[in-house]
C-alpha cells in the first residue's frame, strides 16, 4: 500500500496546477469531442459534462499497471518506507504518462462518449458541449479526504459554470454526478439541475434487441446506493427489448468492484475485484455497466463487459 499522504499531496498539487488529477493540460486528455457528431457549443438547454472521467481511464490504467508491478516486487519496502515512496508515484503520474498510455485504450473510452452524444441527439435532448467548460469535478480529492483541496477546486468550477449561465447539467458517470448533484450544493453553495444521460434517453421504438441473450448488470456503488438510480438503465434496456439478468448483490446492495482502492493499493483493488468477478461470472452472461472505473476494472479482470452506452448505441 502506498502512503496516502504522498498520493494526496501529489494529486492535490496536480489539481491546483492543471485542474485535473494528472498535472497535464486537460486539453491533452479531453479529445473525444473532435469525433463526436451533432453537438453544438451553444445555444442549448443543458451542458454535457463528462468530468474527464472516461478520458482519464487510460492514464489511470497505465499508472496502475506500473504501480501494481512495483507493489508486489522487492522494491515494495523501499516504496513503503524509503524516500522512493515520494518519487515513484510522481514519476509515474507525471512524466511516465506519455509513454505508458495506449492509443487504442484512449479510443476505446472516447468512443463511449461519442455514443452518449449520439444517443442524446437521437432522443432529441436539447444539450450543448463546450470542452473548455468540461471540468474535472474534484471527486478524488473529496474521496481521499483532502477537503480543503476539493472545496477550493469545486468553488472554482461552480463559479465558472455559473458565470457562463449554466443551470442544467447532463453527466455521464456516477462519481461526477454525485459530486455535482450532492456535494457542490453543500460545499460551494451553488446548485445545478443534474441528471445522468440515461435518465434523458427516449427510445422511439421497441427494436432489434429481441432474441439476444441477456446481459448481467453490474451497478456502480454511486448510482446504485448513493444516488439510487439503478432503475433507469433497466427501463432503457427493457424499452429496447434487451433482456437482462440480476446478479447476486445488485441495485442498492451492489458489490463494489474495488476500483476506488486503485490509487493507494493495486493489490487491494485486485482482491476486491476478484470477489466481484466471481459473482458476475456466476450469471453466465456478458456484463454491462455504467461507470468508467467499474468498466476498466472489470475489463482488467478479463470479463466480457461493455458500457451501457455502447450497448444502447448498437441497439437503438
Amino acid at each position: 500500500m502506498y502512503n496516502p499522504r504522498d498520493i494526496i499531496n501529489l494529486i492535490s498539487a496536480h489539481v491546483r496546477k492543471s485542474r485535473n488529477p494528472f498535472g497535464i493540460p486537460s486539453s491533452q486528455i479531453n479529445t473525444w469531442w473532435r469525433e463526436a457528431p451533432g453537438f453544438t457549443r451553444r445555444p442549448g438547454d443543458a451542458l454535457l459534462v463528462t468530468g474527464l472521467m472516461y478520458q482519464s481511464i487510460p492514464y489511470i490504467e497505465a499508472t496502475t499497471r506500473y504501480l501494481e508491478r512495483l507493489e508486489g516486487s522487492r522494491w515494495a519496502d523501499y516504496l513503503r518506507f524509503g524516500r522512493l515512496s515520494r518519487y515513484i508515484p510522481s514519476f509515474v503520474v507525471g512524466r511516465g504518462f506519455a509513454c505508458l498510455t495506449s492509443k487504442a485504450s484512449m479510443q476505446q473510452f472516447n468512443r463511449i462518449l461519442v455514443s452518449i452524444c449520439r444517443l442524446l441527439t437521437q432522443s432529441s435532448v436539447d444539450f450543448f458541449y463546450h470542452p473548455e467548460m468540461d471540468f474535472y469535478s474534484g471527486i478524488l480529492l473529496y474521496d481521499l479526504g483532502d477537503q480543503e483541496g476539493f472545496v477550493e477546486h469545486a468553488k472554482f468550477v461552480a463559479r465558472t459554470l455559473k458565470l457562463h449561465g449554466v443551470k442544467k447539467i447532463i453527466t455521464v458517470d456516477p462519481h461526477t454526478t454525485y459530486a455535482l448533484k450532492e456535494l457542490y450544493p453543500k460545499y460551494t453553495g451553488v446548485s445545478f439541475e443534474v441528471q445522468p444521460y440515461f435518465a434523458l434517453l427516449r427510445p422511439h421504438q421497441v427494436s432489434r434487441g429481441n432474441g439476444r441473450p441477456p446481459v448481467a448488470i453490474h451497478d456502480p456503488c454511486f448510482y446504485g446506493r448513493y444516488l439510487k438510480v439503478s432503475e433507469g438503465p433497466r427501463q432503457l434496456l427493457s424499452g429496447l427489448g434487451l433482456s437482462y439478468t440480476e446478479v447476486r448483490n445488485c441495485g442498492e446492495f451492489t458489490s463494489c468492484c474495488g476500483g476506488p482502492a486503485e490509487s493507494v493499493s493495486p493489490a487491494l483493488n485486485r482482491e476486491i475485484l476478484d470477489r466481484r468477478v466471481a459473482e458476475l461470472k456466476a450469471s453466465g452472461a456478458p456484463v454491462v455497466t455504467f461507470c468508467p472505473i467499474c468498466l476498466a476494472n472489470l475489463l482488467k479482470a478479463g470479463l466480457p463487459v461493455e458500457d451501457l452506452a455502447s450497448l444502447l448505441d448498437r441497439s437503438w
Partner: protein, 100 residues
C-alpha cells in the same frame, strides 16, 4: 498506557463527523465490509467513541483502504453512517498532517 481524549467526538464535528455516538457496536458494518479487515470500520468508530485519538493516528493509513462503497452505511441499524465517519476521519488526519 494509552491516553484518551474525551473531547474527540466533539472535535470531529468540524470534519463532518457527528454520528459516532449513535453507533452501538453491533458489528454489522464490519461483517458486510468488503475489506474483511480487522473489524473495520467498527474498530475505528469505537476509537472515536472512547477518544483514542492516538490509536487512530497510529493506524491512520488503514483509513485509506476504505472504498467509500457505502455498504456499511446502507446496512447500519443505527444510522451511524460509518462510511461518512471514515471519510471524516480521513479529513481529520489530512488536516493533522498538514499542520505538522
Amino acid at each position: 498506557m494509552a491516553l484518551v481524549n474525551p473531547d474527540f467526538a466533539e472535535e470531529l464535528k468540524a470534519f463532518g463527523v457527528d454520528t459516532a455516538l449513535e453507533c452501538f457496536n453491533c458489528g454489522t458494518c464490519a461483517a458486510i465490509c468488503p475489506l474483511i479487515f480487522e473489524h473495520f470500520p467498527r474498530k475505528m468508530i469505537r476509537y472515536v467513541q472512547v477518544g483514542a485519538t492516538e490509536k487512530i493516528l497510529q493506524q491512520a493509513q488503514e483509513l485509506w483502504r476504505c472504498l467509500h462503497c457505502g455498504l456499511c452505511t446502507q446496512t447500519c441499524p443505527r444510522q451511524a453512517n460509518p462510511a461518512e465517519l471514515i471519510l471524516g476521519l480521513r479529513r481529520y488526519v489530512v488536516a493533522r498532517w498538514r499542520r505538522a
